[in-house]
């Protein structure tokens, strides 16, 4: 049954034992996102850093919220996949996740990129649940944009040379 494909054990595990849940300090930006059709909510913070070459790094994503297993597990997987990655890698993972979820089941997930996120492939067949799966990811992108806006910097993906001195820390 499709519903078994939707509720993969990996998803239920992340739901019951979420990774990185709880709001932490310090943070570069904090956002509050809701899914107005069902009332799912998430508060999400990003903490940014720099590696030795000056690339923007995702040092932490902390979050708290309430909602269905799909939205909560998705936030846990986001934390799992993205913390410790460069911003560029994080945005690539976000892009792959978004594409898979929006594909109505036509895109095979790349497990090398998506890891546990590949378990959400079944969600793509349920249009009403796509927003649940994307809630934390949209919040993450928004938080990144806000972090850059408050620092007066540009998002890595739109910045060919993140190392060009325009990104004072």
């Amino acid at each position: 049954m499709d519903v078994d494909a939707l509720y993969q054990e990996i998803i239920l595990d992340h739901y019951r034992n979420p990774v990185g849940k709880g709001l932490r300090e310090p943070f570069a930006a904090e956002v509050h996102h809701v899914n107005p059709t069902c009332g799912d909510e998430i508060d999400l913070r990003v903490t940014l850093g720099r590696d030795e070459s000056g690339h923007t790094m995702i040092d932490d994503i902390s979050y708290d919220g309430q909602g269905c297993s799909i939205s909560q597990a998705s936030a846990s997987v986001l934390h799992d996949l993205v913390v410790g990655k460069s911003e560029q890698e994080a945005l690539a993972i976000e892009g792959a996740f978004h594409e898979m979820i929006s594909s109505r089941g036509r895109t095979e997930p790349d497990e090398d990129v998506l890891g546990d996120g590949a378990a959400f492939a079944g969600v793509a067949k349920y249009p009403a649940r796509v927003k649940c799966a994307l809630l934390s990811w949209m919040a993450f992108k928004d938080a990144l944009l806000q972090a850059h806006a408050s620092e007066g910097t540009a998002l890595t993906a739109f910045d060919a040379e993140p190392d060009n001195g325009r990104n004072p820390q």
Binding site: M1, V3, C38, G39, D40, G67, C68, Y126, C132
Partner: protein
């Protein structure tokens, strides 16, 4: 001419009633029988309603109230005949029923009568006779309840934002009933409108219209009733309710989407400034200004929804043929079965009254350890269609201490086997998520 077909039912016969609704014969999710328990969101349509709409388009379609040809005459007759039929269904005079797009538009129409009159009065524009009661001043008060659908909350919030009026609300008890004892401290000389739901779409609670309207009358307030969840499910005789405006939708009472009704007390309607303006609703037009037609025409700008009106009239025929008292009794039996089944299920909390006294068939509940969205998904996998979420009554959910609920809302075409299928699927869901 008549284009309304006699309904095909005469006595209460569950399988025959089910057979009148073509969609109930389809399967969902890999061959499952459809168990439709989401009628508080929208009802399914009997064949007689679909046939009436189709026949109108095939035989009489034209723009109403204009044109010198036979089709225009017949279309106008179909439209106004449907108005008379629908008005009779609620004991009203045809001219007191305005067709709107849906109930939301009807409630906005009343709210905009206030904001438009208030804005016009500031600039010295002429208001209809009696229109002064629709002019609000900062500090005037609008009263709603804590169990309103967003459709009967947001338009009043907007009205307050535009006029400086203050929104107040009657709270609800932990059981999900209105705390009427608090009314004395909430209603007062500045209360201009009291607007409330007849029957809560989330809690199922049926409110005491008489008690609320008496209190509103005592302070001279306009009384507005949201009857979306009552008129499809019980006999409602509008003139015997002491209210000024009643809004309801067609699609929840077996009718098509795209049509709702707004009943207005005649002297109130006369005093109201129009909401949507344009063609059809005018009396005279010059380049500089216009005067407006009498109600209900004043509130029906543009080419109206004729086919939908014809369909809704056919829905009234169908409901009356079954009998609203019989429908209410049937629903009460099903509601009792739902409540008994939920009471037997571990970890279930009903959000709203748990006794069947003064409550409708919409039953909301939460299950410990399963989010409503996840529950709805597994029920859907078993062919059981329910609503999950906040049901456009987010503040009510907050008051009851839940982020969302699952809601079952049986109607006349459901039977015991539907309720039992739901309860069995609920047990499956608890096993699926490991909370059984």
């Amino acid at each position: 001419m008549t284009i309304i077909e006699a309904p095909s039912v005469g006595v209460w016969d569950e399988s025959r009633i089910r057979g009148d609704f073509p969609i109930l014969a389809r399967t969902v999710r890999e061959g499952r029988r459809l168990v439709y328990l989401d009628s508080a969101a929208t009802s399914q349509k009997p064949r007689s309603v679909l046939d009436a709409e189709r026949r109108y388009y095939e035989t009489a379609n034209a723009a109403v109230h204009r044109g010198a040809h036979q089709l225009a005459e017949e279309a106008t007759e179909a439209y106004e005949g449907s108005r008379a039929r629908i008005a009779a269904f609620v004991g009203a005079r045809p001219d007191d029923v305005v067709f709107t797009r849906n109930a939301t538009e009807g409630l906005n129409l009343v709210a905009y009568a206030f904001s438009n009159a208030t804005a016009k009065s500031i600039h010295g524009a002429v208001l209809p006779d009696g229109g002064a009661r629709f002019v609000l001043a900062p500090g005037d008060e609008i009263v709603v309840t804590e169990m309103e659908h967003h459709a009967n909350l947001v338009p009043w919030q907007e009205l307050c934002a535009k006029t400086g009026a203050v929104l107040r609300w009657i709270p609800i008890t932990d059981e999900g009933r209105l705390d009427l004892a608090s009314m004395d401290s909430i209603l007062g000389p500045r209360t201009k409108v009291v607007s409330f739901t007849h029957q809560s779409n989330l809690l199922g609670t049926i409110n005491d219209v008489g008690a609320l309207s008496r209190a509103a009358r005592a302070v001279g307030a306009l009384v507005v009733l949201d009857a979306c969840q009552s008129i499809p499910h019980q006999a409602v005789d509008i003139p015997s309710l002491d209210v000024d405006a009643v809004a309801w939708s067609g699609h929840k009472m077996l009718g098509p989407t795209g049509i709702g009704c707004l009943w207005l007390r005649p002297e109130v309607a006369e005093a109201m400034t129009p909401f949507i303006t344009g063609g059809s609703m005018i009396e005279t037009v010059t380049m500089a200004e216009s005067t407006f037609a009498a109600p209900p025409t004043r509130f029906e700008a543009g080419v109206p929804m004729v086919a939908q009106a014809v369909g809704l009239a056919a829905a009234c025929d169908y409901l009356d043929e079954l009998g609203m008292a019989e429908i209410a009794a049937h629903e009460q039996r099903l509601t009792r079965r739902v409540l008994d089944g939920l009471a037997r299920t571990t970890g279930v909390r009903v959000i709203g009254p748990t006794d069947s006294h003064s409550r409708g068939s919409a039953v909301s509940f939460v299950v410990e350890g399963i989010h409503p969205h996840d529950l709805g998904q597994v029920l859907d996998d078993r062919g059981v269609a329910v609503r999950v979420g906040h049901h456009c009554a987010w503040p009510t959910c907050r008051r009851m201490g839940v982020p969302a609920t699952t809601r079952v809302s049986p109607y006349l075409y459901n039977d015991d086997s539907d309720i039992d299928a739901f309860l069995a699927a609920l047990d499956d869901s608890r096993a699926f998520f490991g909370v059984a």
